[in-house]
Amino acid sequence: MSKRKFWALIGELAAILLFLVYVSPLILVLFNSSKTSGQIILNPISAPSDWGLLWKNIQSVFGNTVVNYGGAFKSSLIITFGSLVFIILFSSMAAWVIVRNKSKFSNFIYYCFIAMMVVPFQVVMYPLVSWFKKMSDVVTIPLFGFSLLRSYPGAIFAYIGFGISMSVFMYCGFIKGIPYEIEEAATIDGCSKVQVFNRIILPMLKPITVTVSILNGIWIWNDFLLPLLILGKGNTIQTIPLTVSNFVGSYVKQWDMILTSTLLAIIPVLIFFLIAQKNIIKGMSEGAVKS
């Protein structure tokens, strides 16, 4: 028994140590965001002497004319949530009819989605930009008055396309586990197909929808290359990763400013994590096992 207790203690100590090592980079960001550049060079690992500097540094980041953090936060929110709504809606609809209508065509569509999951972004990205330009010139500008490049609709449309493969795959896996009898009963009671989906299937998809939202949400929120290519440089619409990268580019090795800007990028994510921690961890682990 005492031997077991000894090992439990060792385990606990090892875990605490590992935990500290793991979060130390983030603690260092917080510490050094409350220092001047000179203080950081003098001692980059000490706790700050004056926490008031944190506020001052944050103000200088917000006051910088090169970047617009408030605007970037808004753009990131619009793009992430706009994309999520459509990804969830389109992929759950598609997955449901794919699972419930077993045919060669359904299978073909399903395997197309799966096959494209292996394709790296690098193969598609440059043709995508020129193709979006063509579609804008021929279709979206004359018909709807907006371009797919440097715009919200373009970024959201691109994310729908890239997000849909994995999401359809995950919804298919989940829907296969829903007994068909429930739908049959509803049809006999006079529900149309659309009603069956809206009233019966959609509410049942809630757990997998949480997973799909979290996986896609984290990816879209942090993505860098797609918004760089679709939104472009010097655009008023800039996501947070683009803004941080622009900001850092304008300050060579000025760690007080750079680290404060990364801190500002981390804070929204951290707040979100603290609020939804249980759902995130549950959603991430369940989703991964199903896919």
Binding site: G11, P25, C112, V119, W131, F157, V269
Partner: protein, 305 residues
């Protein structure tokens, strides 16, 4: 009777209509965003495509591919991607599995540990890269060992590959840990207890019971980490930007320019769109082959055990 047949037909028609209506948005988005650019991309790799001009690109055969193979920067890039990919693949899985064992044990603070280990996964690669640039440049040299002062991680070409691997492991291991953790939760406890009553050591329980029981999970995690390792882009861009430079076959190249970054630089910096496209196609083929070999190998292991 005829009436009934008619309603049946109407119903079938309505069902078909729903099928088409429900499938169209997803298929359309998929076709317009991925499928068309994918086939265009393959075609462009055999042409003199420049990315912008409106005139149709001219077919040039295999010239772009030949140019890609003549480019020593690209050859080095392929080599360092393979080295980094293997280091990262091994590191992420060992760390993730170790962490998963830790947080699925009976430790008191396991929920907090789990949240902490997972946290870096929520932060984007670009932001993490800048943070770790600071750590390697400013924090590491303060460590109480002369080695850290003379061996700067982002200056030494060999160490900078490790710098990338450490950072991306720090970011990704928490996610893989969650997958292992979920699998470990499903290993029946009484099985482990009876094994331990029979005198099985911790190591024997781990290798003879736990690992075979979660074999299907390894197929998933190994696939995910493998493709993640070879596709690294964001962290490289913000942490090393491909550097430091070094000599390779008598030419100056960038020590950590992984393939994804090399493709980006070829197109966006050097403006060689068609060559970049050929490199991207080669990258795709290599990834597909490696992923295929890995999944069929782990699948076979799964069946054996």
């Amino acid at each position: 009777m005829a009436q009934q047949k008619k309603t049946m037909n109407d119903k079938k028609k309505a069902d078909r209509l729903t099928y088409i209506l429900f499938l169209t948005p997803a298929v359309l988005a998929f076709t317009l965003v991925i499928a068309i650019p994918f086939f265009q991309g393959i075609y462009y790799s055999f042409t003199d495509w420049d990315g912008i001009s409106k005139a149709a690109p001219k077919f040039v055969g295999l010239i772009n591919y030949i140019d890609a193979f003549k480019d020593s920067r690209f050859l080095y890039s392929a080599q360092v991607t393979l080295i980094f990919g293997i280091i990262n693949f091994v590191l992420v899985n060992i760390v993730a599995f170790g962490l998963a064992l830790l947080v699925s044990s009976k430790l008191k603070g396991r929920d907090i540990y789990r949240a902490g280990f997972f946290l870096p996964n929520l932060i984007g690669g670009i932001v993490l890269g800048y943070i770790w640039q600071f750590i390697y440049n400013s924090v590491f040299p303060t460590f109480p060992s002369a080695w850290f002062k003379t061996n700067l991680f982002l200056v030494n070409p060999k160490l900078s590959v490790w710098a990338l691997a450490i950072t991306s492991t720090w970011q990704y291991a928490g996610y893989i840990m969650l997958i292992y953790y979920t699998a470990l939760q499903n290993v029946p406890n009484d099985l482990l207890e009876s094994a331990s009553l029979d005198g099985a050591t911790w190591w024997q329980r781990l290798t003879k019971i736990i690992m075979p029981m979660i074999a299907p999970t390894f197929t998933i995690t190994l696939f995910l980490t493998l493709s993640n390792s070879f596709k690294q882009f964001d962290v490289v861009l913000s942490l090393t930007n491909g550097g430091p430079s070094m000599l390779y076959g008598g030419k100056a190249i960038n020590a950590t320019e992984l393939l994804a970054v090399n493709i980006y630089n070829t197109a966006s910096v050097q403006n060689n769109m068609a060559i970049a496209q050929a490199k991207a196609v080669l990258f795709f083929i290599a990834l597909a082959v490696i992923s295929f070999i890995q999944t069929s190998m782990t699948r076979r292991k799964e069946i054996e055990s």
